[in-house]
Amino acid sequence: MIVSNMEIIPGKHIKEHLGLVQGSTVRTKHVGRDILASFKNLFGGELRGYTELLHESREEAVNRMKRQAQAIGANAVLNVRFSTSSVTHGAAELFAYGTAVKIE
């Protein structure tokens, strides 16, 4: 499964467009990380716990998108976009969407 945020794949021909596929996940971290993060908020700098959390969730969102694409018989997802929104304090929704296509 090819995942790319370009609209075309150089040197490859798109046989069929299969429409939009998407994947999303809402995650929150445990209290310990939250407390650590609030300390870090005092000194500034990277909040590793959050970085990891968001990275993992984004991967999960992409995987869900891939699964959806596979289910409708696509072998590539093009023009992928990401979007993040904080739903409540400490919880974030990670959303990935793209166009499922069949390429040669």
Binding site: I2, V3, S4, N5, M6, E7, I8, I9, P10, G11, A37, K40, N41, L42, F43, G44, G45, E46, L47, Y50, T51, L54, H55, R58, V62, V80, R81, F82, S83, T84, S85, S86, H89, G90, A92
Partner: protein
């Protein structure tokens, strides 16, 4: 009185550590930017010249970064009179450059030397009760390409 002392201590801690971390971070950003200069990050949507390439791979880099207490205090003061909030400018600058660097590091691990269609996204992750921005997440993503002639060499 106690409140004032606590505030002064928090401000001093924030100022000291915040400055230290920021300096260190900038040093590491500049060093790694020089290291990764051979990987070109291009914002155009489609490669300029059609080229034979391996399958494209989506690469991402993200970072969540927080501003220190002292800078947050300054920003709150600044919002009284309006104008440029320098303390947040450097925060976002660091976050963007770090995210791009992480994306490039991933591309390097895959053996690619070009990244196309780079998009940057910024989201504020945690807001406290007063609505101040505590930390921002920056995500950089793009499509890494491995030119074929490069591989044969």
């Amino acid at each position: 009185m106690v409140d004032l002392i606590v505030l002064a201590i928090l401000l001093a801690l924030g100022y000291g550590f915040g400055r230290h971390f920021e300096k260190q971070h900038y040093k590491s950003i500049i060093r790694r930017e020089a290291e990764l200069r051979h990987i070109t990050a291009i914002a155009s949507r489609i490669p300029p010249a059609p080229q034979l390439a391996d399958d494209p791979i989506l690469v991402t880099g993200s970072v969540v970064i927080s501003v220190d207490y002292f800078k947050r205090f300054l920003a709150a003061l600044r919002s009284l009179v309006g104008g440029k909030v320098v303390s947040y400018e450097s925060l976002l600058d660091r976050a963007r450059r770090e995210a791009i660097l992480r994306m490039k590091e991933k591309a390097r691990r895959l053996g690619a030397n070009q990244i196309f269609n780079i998009k940057l996204e910024t989201a504020s992750i945690s807001k406290n009760a007063r609505g101040n921005i505590g930390s921002v997440e920056v995500l950089a993503y793009g499509t890494a390409l491995k030119p074929l002639q490069q591989q044969e060499r």
